[in-house]
Amino acid sequence: MNSQITAGLIGTLLAGAILYLVRRDHMHGSYALWWLAIAAAILILGVFPPVIDWLGRITGISYPPVLPIIIGIGMILIRMLRTDIDRSRQERQLRRLAQKLAILEQELTATRRSLGVSAESSAGPRGKGAQVIALSKSSDA
């Protein structure tokens, strides 16, 4: 009975921490869903440890406590794989974005030059704009 209280406490704390962090809205859509599912699983397994024995029986594993460890490691590996795939996607997007930005900037400079807008006259309003932004920021604070 004592061990069940410990397991339940750890499960509740972990699930609570995840829930708190997710609710603080630092995570984007599908990540939040994933972590909510993890929190629910931890809560269930912590509060009702017999679930593990039952799972072990129906999957034919003679030493059931190893089951959550295997599943946990498997989940972590899948999660890491997903993270790397995501990172590669973002790297691709970041590179293309940087390229596009640089191309557009060159085009803007060339267009300005062909219109005869000199660097000095274009720097004027830009400088002012920066000042306005700085003012509104300081008034916010």
């Binding site: 691709r92 640089a102 191309i103 900037e105 060159q106 060339a110």
Partner: protein, 240 residues
Amino acid sequence: MQRSILAVIPARNEASTVADIVCRTLAGGQCDVLVVNDASSDETAVLAEAAGAAVIDLPFSLGAWGATQTGMRYAQRNRYRTVVTLDADGQHHPEELNALLSSLRRTGSNVVIGTYAARMSAARRLAGRYFRLLTQMSVQDFTSGLRAYDRRAVRALASREASLLDYQDMGVLMLLSKKGLILHEVPTRMSTRRIGASRVFASWLLVARYMLHTTVLCFAQIGVRSRVLFRSQAGRNQPV
């Protein structure tokens, strides 16, 4: 006046040579010149612009291929028909571009690679043999940055698919042959680098990393066959 050929010169901290290369490329009189400044910390961009090139400043370093691809996308946006690439460090002679371009026109290939056999060290040649074995492609000098691309090749290389490559070498060649484009090699003159070392073959650790990286890339592309034409022009391969 819109000319149909764009010379793309990726440059990172090449202030000592970039102006000379731009002037000599422009002197050929048949192409516009674009220098892609890969976040240099020196005067590369200013000097290139003063020499008469259009200059694109990348907001942060994208590597040699990232810079070159920027040029490809610029070429596509501005409807250039042909793109030639050369390095800004002076190892490629802009005077050789004519040979590349005429070869592109004459052979009906999509990509022409300027190779310089005498440049290659034993180690580099061994690496070349290894990659040829791995990919079944028959390109001699797979790291050469002196190349000419036609519009189809430019479209392939400006695509998202090519954005995660890091060097203008095997990965680029494999992508091109996967798209069914025809590669052709032309022997050219090149000089050894005057200043600085190759970005790829700088140290043994980098070489090992590069070999591993490219091997993985090759394995991901296994089963791809190239169609390299072998009609090298004799008499054009005197080293400088």
